[in-house]
């Protein structure tokens, strides 16, 4: 018997008096001991399935049709106390944000005790220690969540989820908040436990390559519907639905030939937009769409490899051109030169000082794109902030266009402002919510006292540069999508056409198709304006796609640097090798 079975499952939300299906006719089965990947971009409805299993749907959402069974028992019709009885015993859940999923005021031990006592384990302490051992953690029962790293918290949560030897574990983006190297370890741990206990796992992720590595089967979700479902390796190697194919082509690869990124227009429609849609929900973005597509909903057809599109014969027409490896631009002048740079944060309240950056030297030529990679806490962001003068260096030298800008002085600041601009990670908080987009992108001109008419004209130019319609100039940041906000953020930095752009994790947290749009934008703007870029990213594939040189940082030091193609093809430092091996889909 299957562990989990959904048949024509519909989860419907009531929005402004209209019913919209957030999950529309979902059918799938999960056999014992198998791993099913549920893949799709943000808003596809991936989390809805997990929430439906626990019947913890958001307010206004309800299962309105179809059925959902756990081991032959109807989860929707089941009495709440019976369902609660299953949760934590037969069905385990692993969350997306491990740091906030543990109660901050209770020790790990007390949270374990609560769980294990409920499972009827009297000697919970030794059981907890054994569970921690199974995820390679020492006895940290007396510690509190804030004393642990995200990866450790996630391992604690995995240990708790598997402590009851559940038949089913639902893991909703369990590694999204973690570094790649830690992601690789966590995924391996889950895999070991799952095999050892013959647990079925519903693995929810936005990363198709990660899913292919972890799962037996993959179901690709788009706007609440499964559009493709099949064996993991087949779906990855031979995607047949246009959305799956585009998604795969839109994500830069860590190995193999370098290609351009497929530019899917727009983004996944929200629930409100879905209400007015008919036929195939992918039609507005689909390169193969035709009028007939908007008339009827394509059925999911096929045996082991099911596709919800009647036009798969044309799938091979969706391609991207190959790119030459990113070449070091033949340049002359040095734009940035950094020598022996160091930064020590003094320990507050008697804590030890932190060496965030130590003895870093590098240079960036005019027009060159340089990537900085490394795990969180390795000093990447501090390096960027030092460069921008947002942080005072402890030692070393920073030169911009030949001049020393290491100090706090007014001359250094003016030069920095003229030469370099920074784009921050979180576009939401970086944009003033009360200002209009047009005013935001021309802020630098306003500060310089340029008149309104001229600023308007420049705003129009910038929006055109960003590939955004002019009408967006009068919107507030809250009325934009995440990708649009990040574009505005980039546009603001490009207003005065700087010689150097420093970008800190600007595509992390964005959907693959939106990320592709932004990366293409940066490449195009570079061709037009010829600025240099220091790109900080935890995503090695993004760096491989965009940058001709790369620096690998660890514990504040640059452990390896060189041409991107050479470093990635032939890493010298152990850490670089580990980093590269952790990336899903690494050859």
């Amino acid at each position: 018997m299957s562990v989990l079975r959904a048949e024509n499952l519909c989860v419907t939300a009531r929005i402004d008096g209209v019913d919209v299906a957030a999950l529309d006719g979902l059918s799938l089965t999960l056999a014992p001991g198998k791993v099913l990947g549920l893949v799709g971009e943000s808003g596809a409805g991936k989390s809805m399935l997990g929430r439906a299993i626990a019947q913890l749907l958001p307010p206004g959402f309800a299962v309105t049709a179809g059925m959902l069974e756990f081991a032959g028992r109807d989860l929707v019709a089941m009495a709440p106390d019976q369902r609660q009885n299953l949760l934590g015993r037969q069905i385990g859940f692993i969350p997306q944000e491990p740091l906030s999923a543990l109660n901050p005021v209770r020790s790990i031990g007390s949270q374990f005790a609560e769980h294990l006592r409920r499972l009827g384990i009297a000697d919970w302490r030794s059981a907890a220690i054994a569970a921690l051992e199974s995820v390679q953690l020492p006895d940290l029962l007396d510690r509190f969540p804030h004393q642990l790293s995200g990866g450790m918290c996630q391992r604690v949560l995995i240990a708790m989820a598997f402590a009851s030897k559940p038949a089913l574990v639902v893991a909703d983006e369990p590694t999204t908040a973690l570094d790649v190297t830690i992601q690789a370890r966590i995924v391996a741990l889950m895999r070991d436990l799952q095999v050892a206990q013959n647990t079925a796992v519903l693995f929810i992720t936005h990363d198709l390559r990660l899913a292919a590595q972890v799962c037996d089967e993959i179901a690709v979700l788009y706007a609440g519907r499964v559009v493709e479902h099949g064996p993991a390796d087949v779906v990855l190697a031979q995607p047949l639905h246009p959305y799956t194919k585009c998604l795969l082509l839109a994500a830069p690869a860590i190995s193999g030939p370098r290609t351009a990124l497929y530019a899917l227009p727009d983004q996944m429609p929200g629930l409100r937009a879905l209400a007015e849609m008919s036929g195939c929900r992918f039609a507005p973005r689909c390169p193969l769409a035709r009028d007939a597509c908007r008339e009827s909903v394509p059925a999911l057809a096929g045996d082991t490899h099911k596709i919800a599109c009647p036009h798969i014969a044309e799938i091979d027409t969706i391609t991207v051109p190959a790119l030459a490896p990113a070449m070091v631009a033949a340049t002359g002048e040095t734009l940035v030169s950094v020598a022996g740079l160091g930064k020590v944060f003094r320990g507050r309240f008697g804590r030890k000082p932190t060496i965030a950056v130590r003895d870093v030297s590098f240079s960036i030529a005019a027009g060159e794109f340089v990537g900085v990679v490394g795990e969180s806490g390795s000093g990447k962001s501090t390096l960027a902030r030092l460069l921008m003068g947002l942080e005072q260096k402890t030692s070393g030298e920073i030169r911009l266009a030949g001049q020393d800008v290491g100090g706090w002085g007014a001359a250094a600041r003016r030069l920095r402002l003229r030469t370099a601009q920074m784009v921050f990670q979180d576009p939401q908080s970086a944009l003033n919510p009360r200002r209009r987009v047009g005013a935001i992108v021309t802020q630098a001109l306003e500060a310089a006292g340029v008149g309104l008419a001229e600023r308007r004209a420049r705003a129009a130019e910038i929006l055109a540069d960003l590939g955004m319609p002019l009408e967006l100039a009068d919107r507030a940041p809250s009325q934009l999508s995440g990708g649009q906000r990040q574009r505005v953020n980039i546009g603001r930095a490009l207003c005065l056409v700087p010689k150097l752009l420093v970008a800190d994790e600007i595509v992390s947290g964005l959907d693959v198709s939106v990320q592709a749009q932004l990366l293409a934008l940066l490449a195009r703007l570079r061709a037009e304006h010829g600025f240099a870029l220091l790109l900080i990213s935890h995503d090695l594939a993004v760096v491989r796609y965009l940058c001709e040189r790369v620096m690998v940082m660890r514990n504040g030091e640059v452990v390896e640097a060189g041409r991107t193609d050479e470093v990635f093809a032939n890493p010298q430092h152990d850490y670089t090798r580990e980093l590269l091996a952790s990336v899903p889909g690494a050859a």
Binding site: A54, L56, Q84, N85, L86, L87, G88, R89, G92, F93, P95, E97, S100, A101, L102, N103, P104, V105, R106, S107, E114, H115, R118, F144, H146, Q147, L157, M160, F349
Partner: protein
């Protein structure tokens, strides 16, 4: 942890110094001659001058302050001008009574507040919420002296259910061990006197505490609602933890932290508010002592009582901060 708490206590020192300076300064500015006040009305100019020199009032103000501060730190608050007794003794008699009253009021405020907060949380998004909202607003908008009069009228006069003057039934004598009446009656085994004292405290404590309950309710309700949005609550549900355990074992432990901080702040106000309530209920505490002292321009008492209020309020705030630190591992500085 201990170090952090000691640092917290240390931070209180400059505040205390400032308050002592203000108290000393403000009272010196009053057009009252402490030397003349301390002598019988029949005293001659020469006698007063002698007293002035004995009290150091002819020395520079800074020296006077130093003298006063030194004496205060040694627990010597001087003699009451009016009652001709050491102020320290008067304080020792009245402070425990006021502390007992305030603690009782805070317990009432806390019980009502926490219970009401949980009740309001249970009622959230239901029709009862608006009613609860109105009732709590009403509770809050009456000042404590109106509550005092209202309670006297209803329970003392109309229903004759509870006494409303003094601390004990007429004819009872109070045992003295620690000066804390409730404690002393129990220590000497006089249960009848204990219950008499409790009955006498119900109305004043209620009058003092009831207005402080609604803010506690609201903060608790709001922070419970916030806490229920947290990931760890959802994760606990997904682990099959029951709703009662979620509330008591997970949500409340987190939501209580801002509530406790609020209660610490409130206790300061409540302690100050005890003054009026004591007067209305003829309750022999520091409030009545203060009112008499003001009436008689009894400077040493005013200074000592003012300083005592300040010390108690600061001690309570520091104590509550310590408690919050103890309950919140993130503040324990590890």
């Amino acid at each position: 942890m201990l170090a952090a708490f000691l640092r917290r206590l240390l931070a209180v020192a400059p505040i205390l110094a400032l308050v002592s300076l203000l108290l000393f300064g403000a009272l010196r500015l009053l057009p009252i001659d402490p030397a003349a006040m301390s002598m019988p009305p029949t005293a001659t100019k020469v006698e007063i001058e002698a007293a002035r020199q004995a009290m150091g009032l002819d020395r520079p103000v800074t020296v006077q302050y130093a003298i006063w501060l030194g004496q205060t730190l040694r627990g010597d608050f001087g003699n009451s001008i009016h009652m001709r007794r050491p102020v320290a003794g008067l304080l020792a008699e009245t402070l425990p009574a006021t502390i007992e009253l305030s603690l009782a009021a805070m317990v009432i405020a806390g019980l009502l507040g926490l219970g009401g907060g949980l009740g309001m949380f249970a009622l959230r998004d239901r029709r009862g919420e608006a009613v609860a909202e109105t009732v709590t607003t009403l509770m809050m908008s009456l000042p404590e002296f109106l509550w005092a009069l209202l309670l006297i009228f209803v329970f003392g006069v109309l229903l004759s259910a509870l006494p409303f003057t003094g601390r004990l039934d007429p004819g009872m004598t109070r045992p003295v061990v620690t000066q804390f009446l409730l404690l002393d009656t129990l220590l000497v085994g006089r249960v009848d006197v204990f219950f008499s004292a409790v009955r006498h405290m119900i109305l004043p404590a209620f009058a003092l505490g009831v207005a402080f309950a609604p803010p506690i309710m609201r903060v608790l309700r709001a922070s419970l609602i916030d806490t229920y949005q947290e990931d760890y609550i959802r994760q606990a549900r997904l682990r099959g933890v029951g709703e009662t355990r979620i509330l008591l074992g997970h949500a409340l432990q987190n939501a209580i932290l801002p509530t406790l901080t609020l209660m610490g702040v409130q206790f300061g106000f409540l302690f100050g508010g005890s003054l009026l309530v004591e007067v209305i209920y003829s309750y022999p505490g520091m409030g009545n002592l203060m009112v008499d002292a003001v009436r008689n321009a009894d400077l040493p008492i005013i200074q000592a009582v003012g300083l005592t209020y300040c010390v108690v309020v600061l001690a309570i705030t520091a104590g509550v901060d310590g408690l919050v630190m103890l309950l919140n591992p993130r503040l324990r500085g590890t």
